[in-house]
């Protein structure tokens, strides 16, 4: 059957009726909905008009009329209705009109669907849906979006001030901004978000300024909780893409822009919070700033400064107390200081783990703070010395600390942790070793387990090389005991020759122990016999070792037959040597004693002082002054007596500090040499600054090398032909194999 040709006007008339019906429906006027027949007819009309043979192929015209339909409706109805409304009412109207428009587009594009199928593709034209939406965009959106935006922002601000607003409405409006982009967010961002962010920024900037003036830091931080509320806003009506930008903006205004003013607030800022131990407020501060890049830096900085100040104050306190109260026993203040530093460490470590959630920045701040004041000298002693003395007091018998085993273990643990902050670790090792030697050799160690336990902890922290010698020392004593047992067997089996005196010898391995001066003391005959005897025994065990006798470490028990009663005197070997001289002579001059014993003046003065001018006057001195002079005369004081049967005559120890420092300096020179050679051997050619910095790094485990010392060692190595300077570049060095 031949299809009848439909003329454009005719066909359009028919379509127009359908469009009018649709409009009535949209306007809410009473109108029955489209039946499927009506729909079919409308669709077919379009179909026919497009498939007719030219010149009755009206696709182009229909395409244009499709668009014009929207334009007409918008211009005549939609725009006027919008123009007459404002603010929230305008927003509602817009939402309604937009919904309507979408419906209109949906229906009309169904009617005109055939155009979508062939015509638009053939001519590369926008699809019907797009045409429809574009009409709304170009005619409605373009005109109203600025007003809409301002209205929306005004509502947001209202909500910020605590008023209730219609969130659903805002969501719908903002959806328009999104949808109008037809897949792109550019309209949302450029026409709304940008201004919204700016307004937000201004809003919070004003708030921040006023709060910062009026509120304390903790209160301000509480108010900063509104950050969370802003984020919630996103879930209610803003597009999710705004979340991050919004957070950043608010954070910036509230926390970043005024960070300094906030944190540095005099009576309630970070410093004050630390001072007053406001743990909760500090935790909140951490939580607020931890998400901001570099936000924690100023907080960590204040933390570090605070700890440094407290630590330095403690050091100063100790310094002042020690110099003011001369009546204090020496070393008491230093002891107290170490205790207090340990407490300080515990306190602020707790802050790091709790308030600051173990963040590395705060660990670092704590470490750097401690490194500052833990390396200060107190009353002339280096911190390495003080720490070693502190350990000595815990580990020795009758030490000033009376603690339970657990408390001791805990304290030792903390002391070892403090060692990490001390740069001269090798100095500590040397002081510790010297004191350990005294404890071991004079049987002053309180508890073997504790001795081993601290060595284990030191090994864990500083490596095996740090503790190898000390461990050797402890082992030596065990071996020495075994050795002594076999010496006693030897004596029993050799009933013929006896030394005549009870002799205990402790054989030590030279490499492990600190170096001791061994003088050529002229021993009394009785002792010479003992020495020879032991030598004989030792040679039966091994011929490959050489014994060097260190008389300065020996102890003698001498019976003094005084007029009233015999008293057993516990003295050092040197003191005994002096006393025994008086077995053969009644009265001796200083020079005679000197000649007989072959000691230095310094040592002899100390010895004679301890026997004649100190608490127990075993010898009487002529003249009876408190100072030993080289013209003095000495006599056995037969009138001496004491209520005890056995007394210890102590010899005040020599100040080893200077020697320790010298020894350590020497070791450091070797260590620097070795490090330089090691580095240059592997790199072959290296620049000066790099060499120095690598050297410092390699040695940092044990000490902080002085740059000048490194230069000096380099010069020495150049003279010894290990290194040479590069000819072209005087800042480069070359390894000479």
């Amino acid at each position: 059957m031949e299809r009848k040709t439909i003329e454009l006007d005719q066909g359009w008339d028919y379509m127009q009726k359908g469009i009018t019906k649709l409009k009535r429906i949209l306007e809410g006027l009473p109108e029955p909905p489209f039946s499927s027949e009506e729909y079919m007819m409308l669709y077919t009309t379009i179909y026919n008009m497009c498939t007719q043979k030219p010149p009755h192929d009206y696709s182009q015209q229909l395409y244009d009329k499709y668009r014009e339909a929207f334009e007409e409706y918008i211009t005549s109805t939609v725009l006027p209705s919008l123009r007459e409304k404002h603010d929230e009412f305008m927003l509602r109207e817009l939402v309604k009109r937009w919904e309507n428009h979408k419906v209109m587009v949906r229906w009309l594009s169904r009617f005109f669907h055939y155009l979508d199928r062939y015509f638009i593709a053939r001519r590369s034209l926008p699809a019907l849906n797009e045409v429809g939406l574009t009409c709304f965009r170009d005619l409605v959106y373009q005109e109203v979006h600025a007003k809409v935006r301002d209205a929306v922002i005004a509502l947001i601000d209202k909500e910020r001030e605590g008023e209730q607003i219609d969130r659903a409405l805002l969501k719908n409006v903002l959806d328009i901004f999104v949808e109008i982009g037809m897949g792109q967010m550019d309209h949302y961002e450029a026409d709304f978000e940008e201004d919204m962010l700016q307004d937000t920024g201004a809003y919070y900037s004003r708030k921040a300024s006023s709060w910062i003036e009026e509120d304390s830091c903790p209160d301000y931080m509480l108010k900063a909780k509104c950050l969370k509320k802003e984020r919630d806003r996103v879930s209610h009506y803003l597009h999710s893409s705004s979340e991050m930008k919004l957070s950043e903006k608010v954070q910036h205004e509230l926390l970043v822009a005024c960070a300094n003013r906030l944190l540095e607030k005099e009576h309630s800022g970070c410093r004050a919070l630390l001072r007053d131990d406001k743990v909760e407020d500090l935790s909140r501060m951490y939580r607020l700033y931890c998400k901001i890049p570099r936000g924690l830096d100023p907080v960590a900085n204040i933390f570090k400064q605070h700890i440094t100040a407290e630590g330095t104050a403690l050091v100063q306190q100790a310094e002042d107390a020690a110099s003011n109260q001369a009546s204090n026993a020496p070393g008491v203040q230093e002891q107290v200081l170490i205790r207090k530093i340990i407490e300080l460490h515990d306190k602020y470590m707790a802050y790091v783990t709790d308030c600051f959630q173990n963040h590395t920045l705060f660990h670092k701040a704590l470490k750097e703070a401690f490194e500052v004041f833990c390396n200060k000298t107190v009353t002339g002693s280096s911190s390495a010395d003080l720490l070693a003395t502190f350990c000595d007091n815990i580990l020795k018998k009758g030490g000033s600390e009376k603690l339970s085993d657990e408390a001791i273990e805990e304290t030792l643990e903390k002391v070892v942790k403090l060692l990490a902050y001390i740069s001269d670790k090798d100095l500590f090792a040397e002081f510790y070793r010297k004191k350990l030697a005294r404890r071991l050799l004079f049987d002053r160690s309180a508890n073997d387990d504790h001795e081993r336990s601290i060595l284990t902890k030191l090994k864990q922290q500083c490596g095996g090389q740090f503790t190898s010698k000390m461990e050797g020392m402890v082992t030596d004593l065990t071996l020495a005991r075994e050795n002594q047992a076999s010496f006693e067997d030897y004596l029993r089996n050799n009933s013929t020759a006896q030394p005549g005196i009870d002799l205990t010898v402790t054989v030590l391995t030279t490499g492990f122990w600190p170096s001791y001066k061994s003088f050529d003391l002229n021993l009394p005959a009785e002792m010479v016999k003992c020495v020879e005897f032991f030598k004989g025994f030792y040679e039966t065990k091994t011929k490959h070792r050489r014994l060097t006798w260190i008389y300065s470490l020996g102890t003698c028990h001498v019976n003094g037959k005084f007029e009233q009663k015999t008293i057993e005197l516990i003295v050092s070997t040197y003191q005994a040597a002096v006393l025994l001289l008086f077995n053969t002579s009644n009265r001796l001059s200083y020079s005679e004693i000197m000649a007989q014993l072959n000691l230095t003046h310094d040592d002899l003065v100390r010895l004679l002082h301890s026997l004649s001018c100190a608490k127990y006057k075993i010898l009487s001195k002529e003249p009876n002054t408190k100072i030993i002079s080289q013209s003095d005369y000495f006599e056995f004081n037969s009138k001496f007596t004491d209520k005890l049967r056995r007394i210890k005559i102590p010899l005040p120890p020599v100040d080893e500090r200077k020697k320790v420092v010298e020894d350590v300096d020497k070791d450091r020179r070797y260590a620097i040499d070795a490090a330089i050679v090691r580095i240059m051997k592997s790199r072959k050619v290296l620049g000066h600054q790099q060499l120095v910095s690598e050297c410092v790094e390699q040695l940092s485990r044990m000490f902080k090398p002085d740059i000048k010392a490194i230069k000096k060692r380099m010069e020495d190595l150049i003279t010894r032909d290990y290194l040479e300077r590069d000819e072209e570049n005087p800042n480069m060095f070359r390894y000479l194999a």
Partner: protein
């Protein structure tokens, strides 16, 4: 028929005669070399003080190995390269010699030669402070008077170093050439300058503060 005949006869002793005679006139016959006395005589004949730097330059030109002595080989080679064979010619050549030494390509070589010339003992690597001071004065005094004066003053008062080695010596020259004097603005102790110069700069800064 002779197809090959000498085109020129290299008379080895051509011109050597005068040079050798000159040598003999100053040499110590038992040693076979010119000794310190001979050098002193040469100096007086040249009208030059024997502590004059030009004698050091001559020694450099001769590549003399041992301080205070010239061997016959050294004498011959040296005078030949100077292009002289008589006392008067030698005297006239001295200014030219100074120029030659002054050339940048030669100067550093001459400068380190001056140090090595002082190493009289076998295996000696360093020179004592006194001699270094004299040498500094001699070699660098003209060109860098202010630096040399202060450096000598410092070397005499400091006690860290009793001797100076070649590396330190070389760096004295570099110091004079590179570091602005007397403000010492561009001196950077973190660079590879020898420690003695670091200490010198510190001493100078303290002096002026």
């Amino acid at each position: 028929m002779l197809f090959f005949f000498p085109i020129s006869v290299k008379v080895k002793t051509k011109g050597m005669g005068k040079i050798d005679r000159m040598f003999d006139s100053y040499a110590n016959s038992s040693l076979g070399m010119i000794d310190p006395d001979g050098i002193e005589a040469l100096c007086s004949d040249l009208g030059v003080d024997y502590t004059d730097v030009r004698i050091l330059m001559l020694a450099w030109k001769l590549k003399a190995e041992k301080q205070g002595y010239f061997t016959q080989d050294e004498w011959r080679t040296g005078l030949k390269s100077l292009g002289v064979d008589s006392l008067s010619k030698l005297k006239k050549s001295l200014p030219e010699l100074e120029n030659e030494v002054g050339k940048p390509s030669n100067y550093e070589d001459f400068y380190s030669y001056a140090f090595r010339y002082c190493l009289t003992e076998e295996k000696q690597k360093s020179v004592d402070i006194e001699s270094i001071c004299e040498l500094l004065n001699l070699v660098l005094g003209d060109q860098f008077r202010p630096q040399v004066d202060l450096l000598i003053e410092y070397l005499k008062v400091q006690s860290d170093y009793k001797v100076i080695n070649l590396d330190q010596w070389i760096n004295f020259l570099r110091f004079c050439k590179e570091i602005s004097f007397s403000d010492l603005e561009n001196y950077d102790a973190t660079q590879a300058w020898p420690l003695i110069l670091d200490n010198f700069v510190e001493w100078m800064r303290e002096k002026h503060s």
